[in-house]
Symmetry: C2
Subunit: 469 residues, 2 copies
């Protein structure tokens, strides 16, 4: 059977060394050799127990390897007179679309999808049901390109990479206005200057958007040594099925994993077992696309996550580590819906949501951009996410009485120390140690080494500690 094609996705079952000090050989977590994806194209996941993708089936848009379609599509693309060059973020969205994270979308949004995303955070499928879709997945075009394409009456364009090599064809195209102000206001709830995604991907983008049906020539690769972590929703579903998961709980993050996160994930598994699930599997799913400049880079985070599994802070047998290829919007309650929805498509039926998900400081005012509770509230009410179980985050903090991360106990709040991401980064930058038990030593070392590599030349003063407002 097609779905039994040889997926060489393997997660070595690491031995679980003693907590915190494992010195075993470097772990290979989530190593996956891509291949045979065409075999799974359009086929329902064989894991009957997993949640269905939005729209009933995964929409995969990479041309099948066999049958000569890739070569034919490459020729088609090369022959198209109009080419749209993809920037970094565009390519990340192409990747997202090609693997079905945004199912049932079949390409960059046309105007009806764009408007529904902006106004309703949901789009209506062919059968009339609403699926969640809170961030616009769009491709911009400048005015000269628009005029040239429309003058020709072209119905398809080639999408090309930075070296002008075709990577996909967008057909049955529709070109419509890119009202940036309205897009930004409705997505972020602010138009203040300094929103990282806006500066990276909107401010200098064209004033038109082009939507259409996407067909991608071959799987997107980054050749950065991390492609083995980039499992598609279909590959993740295969992996969950292979492990006989009867519940999959997803944890989105874009920061190093500390023991508070680990406690939360471990505790979630415990709760799911109590609820009667036999084998809940954690999808530890760091975001791999665009992040703001002061976030820890993906390669460092992946190295840190490896240590966390290697040192036994999380149990590799019930954990799948993979990269979520989406870029980051930092759009709080709007974006957390996207983070959750995409994980449904990858087979997750539980989603852990914390304080201020996808939030950040207001770019121009001394306050957080979003109310810390809005993400959780909006997520729990979002249209199209009714099938997903939302697991609100319990707050963990450093328990100075027990010298470990622990769930915050308001009855003895004086015992707890909150260590923010900003504080954590500042400690690592300054080569200071966090309290014992805050993070596994190997993971912390990865961070310190990263900040060392950025360190200013000898003699310059210590980095000043940035404290969150």
């Amino acid at each position: 059977m097609a779905t039994q094609a040889a997926f060489a996705v393997r997660f070595p079952q690491l031995a679980r060394p003693g907590r915190g000090h494992g010195q075993g050989q470097p772990a290979r977590v989530g190593v996956a050799v891509r291949g045979g994806r065409a075999a799974a194209r359009g086929v329902r996941c064989r894991a009957g127990g997993l949640i269905e993708p939005d729209g009933g089936r995964l929409v995969e848009l990479v041309a099948p390897e066999e049958g000569g379609r890739r070569a034919a599509l490459r020729r088609e693309a090369a022959a198209l007179p109009h080419r749209v060059r993809l920037g970094r973020v565009d390519t990340e969205w192409l990747h997202v679309l090609s693997e079905g994270w945004a199912s049932p979308l079949r390409g960059f949004m046309r105007e009806t999808e764009f408007l529904q995303a902006l106004h309703f955070n949901a789009v209506r499928g062919a059968d009339g049901t609403l699926v969640n879709m809170s961030v616009p997945i769009v491709l911009a075009l400048d005015d000269a390109q628009r005029r040239a394409i429309q003058a020709d009456g072209a119905t398809a364009v080639a999408l090309v990479d930075a070296h002008d090599r075709p990577v996909a064809v967008l057909s049955d195209i529709e070109i419509y206005k890119h009202n940036k102000e309205e897009r930004i206001a409705r997505t972020w709830g602010t138009t203040a200057r300094g929103l990282p995604y806006v500066e990276e991907a909107i401010t200098n983008a064209g004033d038109w958007l082009i939507g259409g049906d996407l067909e991608v020539i071959e799987p997107i690769k980054y050749n950065d040594g991390l492609d083995q972590y980039r499992l598609s929703p279909s590959q993740l579903r295969e992996e969950f099925a292979r492990r006989n998961a009867d519940a999959v709980f997803a944890f989105q993050l874009r920061n190093p994993v500390h023991n508070g996160h680990a406690l939360l994930m471990t505790d979630t598994r415990r709760r799911l077992l109590e609820m009667g699930y036999k084998n809940p599997v954690l999808l530890l799913h760091p975001l791999g696309g665009f992040t703001k400049a002061d976030d820890v880079p993906l390669s460092v985070r992946m190295k840190q996550h490896e240590k966390v599994l290697e040192e036994g802070v999380l149990n590799p047998e019930s954990t799948v580590v993979a990269i979520f290829p989406s870029p980051m919007h930092y759009a709080g309650p709007t974006e957390v819906q996207w983070h959750a929805k995409a994980r449904i498509n990858a087979g997750a039926n539980f989603y852990i949501v914390g304080r201020d998900p996808a939030g950040m400081g207001h770019p121009t005012e001394k306050r957080d951009l979003y109310d810390a509770d809005h993400g959780k509230k909006v997520l729990s009410m979002a249209p199209g996410l009714e099938r997903l179980n939302i697991l609100p985050f319990k707050v963990a903090a450093y328990d100075t009485k027990h010298n470990k991360m622990n769930f915050f106990d308001p009855s003895r709040k004086e015992d707890f120390l909150f260590i923010s991401g900003t504080k954590m980064r500042s400690l690592a930058k300054n080569r200071e140690s966090p309290p014992d038990g805050f993070m596994c030593p190997g993971g912390w070392k990865v961070l310190v080494e990263y900040y060392d590599s950025l360190a200013p030349p000898e003699g310059s003063s210590k980095l000043r500690e940035a404290v969150a407002a």
Copy 2:
């Protein structure tokens, strides 16, 4: 039976004089004496053929006249230690809520409703279904009030008018943050200064919102000579039933009616008859709440609408003229959903939508704030409005070949003259006549007289013509 209580709603069946020049006695259109509303409280409309209100029943929040509830509520309100004073726009929303235009809302929004309105333009009812709700209906509170209420642990507040007289009680209250920037950005798709509703009702409002269950002491009256036009959804439903309407088509407007509007409404009725309806009734439903300074005031518009019926431009037998008590947001595609949704609650199952509904010029840029087609598109896709039939507006313009308003025919576009609202106001201001057949003479006279009453003293130059960008 309760629903057969004597509603003294009467629309005199005007004779239909010759088109445009009827000189009969002044028409009394839509005269309704309010009373007996309590009888209809919470009762499903007896008109089996009318569309159901959102949530299945009209939520009416005025205390019943009989049984002493009004007096008791007045005493309750007087005894409450905390009073929130209602501004003009607040009172308009109180009116809207009290009559069930926003059914199934039972009062000013609590935070979950507010967040759903902002993010999804829809709120989930008790049974899990989505009802449309695109604009926040909220009541602001300043910080001192919030602190006082919360210090007391109060669970209810009295809502009072400008003279400190209690008009309602808000109970089981919830106080939450009023993030104005986010509210504005998500509602208008811009945060540019100069949005009329924002300046009127948000900029100087408090930084907190208070939601809760509303009970209003008695029906809201304005004592401006127009209360007889202010029919509640329940009264409108009674009227449609009385007329044996088998389809109700609503036309929202905030401008004088010209013959292009009339053509459209007449043509809509013709189309509905062709579709097999036996007695389609038009709800001509001018907005009566807050409008921006350069819009024609309500009293003048009502006088103009009277003339339109009196002079037979619209058929009084199949037309109900009433005032929609909502304030105007000028929030384009977001607001048009509210305009449509509220009319479902009044019994309309067809809604006419035109070019750029609820739109205006961008307050700081030389362009329209919204794409002219977005309103129609967003409305047709909006969650919770699936039951409503959207009738897109055909564009009417002045046909110079036939000297009348006609549907625009692109094959002879040179024959057509577009007369914008701005142009119309400027002609009336300058006492110039529009082309013959643009508006019935009586209606035009009302406008000229209005602008005369505003005219600068003798000797000053003509008003300059403002031309829309």
